[in-house]
């Protein structure tokens, strides 16, 4: 679609595990993650609130602070293991060839600096240029994400912008240095469809030009349906299903994926209760012994309570972790 060769791996994650320590012990928030992302590819990472999507993103960038700890695994970025890099080389990569759009824009933006000061700083760290030139690039960056009067906006502080504008400023910053990989964590949650479309169009443009790969973390199945080449579904720190967008959305094999698809509003009459997956995800410290989804799964058997299901794959490269997957022909 993008004319890029989607066979060169940009990112290969193998067995990545991150835990949070507390007085009672160490609890995995992501539990042996395996993922491969190719040049120019868009991977949609979806899953319930608290399933570990953001922690996965942080872990790739090595941004886990105590009491969190990355305990296992490899993160190969263009062939180099990020976990073996020292802090300085990692910092060089972040914001240049590897960038992350954080879920909470206010954690990225400094409240006492103007938008312009922060953006100029982000570029200046990786390129040389006179301040007026850099400011012009920043204003262009803002215009690309649909922010009007960009020159005036550069002189405002984060709290003077609307929620969606702050989110867009963060996106603009992430795109400034034309990275090879962008991890976008719920980048468009607070944005309306028109602006969302604009931003996605800009991202696709960036991909066409520089072959950037994209991990798009979201709960919005509508957006990934339109944007992603592949989808990975996360539950309680595990990727429970991956495959092509069409396979996963039209023919889900994992009961959790189907539950997610069923709760999308649209089929329920207005004002009526929406279908929700019964129960809620357990805290990290009370993860069930067998399949993590078993307490909420209507297909669970004794086997499911005993041992976590191993990954199984089909010829199309779809992988699922479930002892009793939905039959292949069943369409959503």
């Amino acid at each position: 679609m993008t004319g890029q060769d989607k066979t060169i791996p940009v990112l290969e994650i193998r067995g990545l595990q991150t835990v949070f320590h507390d007085a009672q012990g160490a609890w995995p928030a992501i539990n042996g993650l395996d993922l491969t992302l190719h040049k120019g590819e868009v991977l949609g990472l979806v899953g319930e609130s608290g399933s570990g999507k953001s922690v996965a993103g942080f872990s790739v960038l090595g941004l886990i602070d105590p009491p969190g700890e990355i305990t296992n695994g490899e993160v190969l970025f263009n062939g180099r293991d990020l976990r073996k890099l020292d802090e300085e080389s990692l910092r060089q990569l972040r914001g240049a060839s590897l960038s992350m759009i954080f879920q909470d824009p206010l954690t990225t933006l400094n409240p006492v600096l103007t938008i312009g000061e922060q953006m100029v700083e982000a570029i200046a760290e990786h390129t040389r240029g006179a301040t007026p030139d850099l400011r012009r690039r920043c204003a262009e960056g803002l215009a690309r994400v649909g922010i009007t009067s960009p020159a005036e906006r550069l002189d405002q502080y984060p709290h003077e912008l609307s929620g969606g504008m702050r989110q867009r400023v963060v996106i603009a910053i992430a795109m400034l240095n034309r990275p090879d990989l962008i991890i976008a964590d719920e980048p468009t949650t607070a944005l309306d469809v028109t602006i969302q479309g604009q931003i996605i169009a800009e991202m696709q443009e960036l991909q066409r030009e520089s072959g950037a790969a994209l991990i798009w973390i979201t709960h919005d199945l509508g957006v990934v349906a339109e944007l992603a080449d592949r989808i990975a579904v996360m539950y309680a720190g595990d990727i429970v299903e991956t495959g092509s967008t069409d396979d996963v959305l039209d023919r889900p094999r994992h009961p959790y994926t189907r539950g997610l698809l069923n709760s999308v509003p649209g089929d329920t009459a207005a004002g009526e209760p929406l279908r929700q997956i019964e129960g809620s995800a357990p805290p990290l410290s009370r993860r069930p012994a067998g399949c993590p989804f078993s307490p909420r799964c209507d297909r669970a058997s004794d086997m499911c309570l005993d041992q976590p299901p191993p990954p199984e794959a089909d010829a199309n490269g779809r992988v699922w972790r479930c002892y009793h997957p939905l039959p292949e022909e069943e369409a959503a």
Partner: protein
């Protein structure tokens, strides 16, 4: 209309909140050079940003009023004015028939507790140094709503459970939560004082569909049980269609269309509303081509002349460029501001 509660809604219930010509502007303080020029008696030109421009709107008891509009059009500013966090630059706001500015004593206390807001940015609205249990207990203690610590604790646990969070999370700090968990803490905090009017500012944006369903079901249930009234700000039209009785469409600080939800989705009148409805993403509608927004998005710092939507409107005429349309009633409940409807 399908919304069970209001299908045959007899006489309209009284407005809980009524806005008349409500406005809010922002300016910045003059910088040094500008102040010096001012001292010399020169005219200084500091940009004025009109975030909300002359809004007339009432919210009736027990209804869910959806507020939809592009990023930056003024939704949060309007919501913050309703809750008294931001004061209007001009215009009037009545709560239960009385101007909010004249409330005092018990009436003011009622207003501050009755009208709660779920903030768009949960991170900024939670004190990072307070444990979640204390964040939730604070209003109960401050306003002496609960009589004992045991009762407070019970209420806190209930509130956590209602939003699908484990009660053991009480002892954690806000940064130890995922984005969606934090948003639910914001929801629990707004609900814990049992408000009568809730301004929900993108309350479910960071939630996955299953938890979204849980929270929406909770909202609908609270309306049924306690006749709670909502201003529901959201960019997600499928959610608004599901939960709202009426929908107001906002564009560059003004309400351009207002109608019962079923009617708005079936027969949108304003060209902007029609554009919005065309673009609802869905699981079924796959691999749509994405486009940059057509026409320049106007800036509230330099609002276009005439109808604010004219630079992007396929139906714009010279008249639209010169003259701002006035609101017209298409039916008793359907109001639109657009010259296309001037003759009806």
């Amino acid at each position: 209309m399908m919304n069970a509660l209001h299908a045959d809604a007899g006489p309209t219930p009284p407005p809980v909140l009524e806005m008349r010509a409500l406005e809010r502007e922002f300016t910045r303080k003059p910088v040094l050079a500008e102040r010096l020029l001012g001292l010399l008696g020169r005219q200084i030109d500091i940009p004025v940003l009109k975030a909300v421009r002359s809004v007339d709107l009432s919210v009736h008891e027990g209804e869910v009023l959806g507020l939809v509009g592009e990023s930056g059009c003024g939704k949060s500013t309007l919501g913050r004015m309703l809750t008294g966090i931001t004061s209007p630059s001009r215009g009037e706001l009545d709560y239960n028939g009385k101007p909010v500015t004249e409330l005092s004593g018990q009436a003011l206390r009622d207003f501050t507790l009755d009208v709660q807001m779920i903030f768009q940015d949960p991170y900024a609205s939670l004190n990072p140094r307070q444990k979640v249990g204390d964040i939730l207990a604070e209003p109960l203690r401050v306003h002496r709503i609960t009589r004992s610590e045991t009762e407070t604790r019970k209420r806190v646990d209930e509130a956590l459970r209602e939003v699908g969070l484990d009660v053991s999370y009480r002892d954690r700090y806000p940064h130890q939560f995922s984005g969606g968990q934090r948003q639910r803490i914001g929801i629990a905090r707004a609900l814990i004082v049992e408000p009568r009017f809730l301004v929900c500012d993108e309350p479910i944006a960071a939630l996955d569909v299953s938890i979204q369903a849980q929270v929406i079901n909770l909202f609908l249930d609270l309306r049924r049980r306690r006749n709670l009234t909502y201003l529901f700000i959201s960019h997600d039209l499928s959610v608004v269609r599901h939960i709202a009785d009426r929908v107001a469409i906002m564009y560059l600080g003004q309400i351009v269309e207002l109608a019962p939800a079923a009617r708005l989705f079936a027969e949108p009148a304003h060209p902007y509303t029609r554009t919005l409805l065309e673009q609802i993403p869905s699981v079924r509608n796959r691999k749509r081509k994405f486009h940059a927004v057509k026409g320049e998005i106007p800036s509230p710092l330099k609002p276009p002349s005439g109808c604010a939507f004219h630079p992007r409107c396929a139906f714009a005429t010279d008249r639209c460029r010169a003259e701002a349309p006035l609101p017209r009633d298409l039916t008793e409940t359907h109001r639109v501001s657009c010259h296309l409807f001037d003759n009806n």
